[in-house]
Symmetry: C2
Subunit: 187 residues, 2 copies
DNA sequence: GACAAAGTGAACCGATCTGTACATTTATAG
DNA sequence: CTATAAATGTACAGATCGGTTCACTTTGTC
């Protein structure tokens, strides 16, 4: 029980960090954008980094839930769900405020691999890998682990390429590559 | 003529920005790390952003020269050069101070696509695409443009995955995928 | 050796940074 | 109504931010 303020803060801070970056967003800007007092913020989170970690947890929950559900909506059988991932990604890229992957950005701004924020970003990627490996195994594909890692390489590549904006439709390029990889790996 | 100080500044600033990030690196830190006075810096560059742009220009020159040369050393025929790109990447990932791609990080910290720094990062990726498309055409592969974009998606994916560090050997995963893609696209 | 260009160091500007202190107001209970 | 908890606004601390000023020293050239 007692949701509200704290959750509201994390939710709004997520938007601001995503659109603005982490270092570029100061606590005073968060006060302005979220309408929540600084005193309140520091009652819920001891440091800015703690707030960022909470934001990343929420982002992980939002994003994975959305992606997993969307893929299930788009396709029924496992092998087609793997491919549908890239259609889901295209929808994401086409959203107005698209600014790349929050976890890639977090690991770019907190580069040291010992930093908690960097680590949490890596955790997000690990969980994606586990989920999609399970789907690849259900699909009965040979070497599902390798194939999943390769599909996820295409995913990460499409994400940063869509943000850089120098290419027409990276999601569909990746989708075609994914199909070719899956066909090549099938008997 | 007259190289030295300015070039020395850009060269040393490149290291600091790469290891530390852009927003996280202040001008006073640059003074400390490069040993060049702030007065001198601001005589050569009007703003920090101007310095960053110069740093990215140098990085682009360094990186592309290295990658193009290394690939030619590793393979003779075009089709094998495309594949050798991923062996070159692996060498890069294994370097001690590896911290991902400077241009991806730049576009993460300067997200607005109208920002000169973001744009210059996109230019770097464009030039890579042109170069590798030419190689793919020399290789006589069908649809060389699409194939190149796909190989570059694998490359970007491997770069960020190697930095996140949650996967064993993304370069070799990408290499195997590249081989499969090329074989699938060959007659 | 003289002169100009290039570089230096340190102080300084106003703004902003993360984080704290404190007195006050607003909700939520019993 | 009253006691308690939660949230607020503001002012502030100390450090750092990007950038400027200025008097001085080094460097290269004729």
């Amino acid at each position: 029980m007692r949701p509200t303020k704290r959750d509201e803060l994390v939710q709004k801070a997520l938007q601001v960090f995503y659109q603005n970056g982490f270092h570029a967003t100061g606590m005073d800007m968060l006060v302005k954008e979220t309408g929540i007092s600084k005193t309140s913020m520091y009652k819920h989170f001891r440091t800015k980094d703690d707030l960022i970690l909470a934001v990343l947890r929420l982002r992980d929950e939002y994003f994975r839930n959305w992606l997993y559900r969307r893929i299930e909506e788009l396709a029924d059988i496992p092998i087609e769900q793997l491919i549908a991932m890239f259609d889901a990604l295209e929808e994401w890229f086409d959203e107005p405020g698209y600014k790349g992957c929050m976890f890639i950005k977090a690991s770019s701004e907190y580069q040291d691999s010992s930093h908690p924020i960097h680590n949490q970003a890596a955790d997000h990627k690990r969980m994606l890998e586990i989920h999609f490996t399970a789907i690849a195994m259900k699909a009965g594909l040979p070497n599902p682990k390798l194939l999943t890692r390769q599909l996820l390489l295409l995913k990460e590549g499409a994400i940063v390429t869509a943000h850089l904006g120098h290419t027409e439709n990276p999601a569909q390029d990746a989708k075609k590559a994914a199909i070719a990889l899956i066909e090549a790996s099938s008997p």
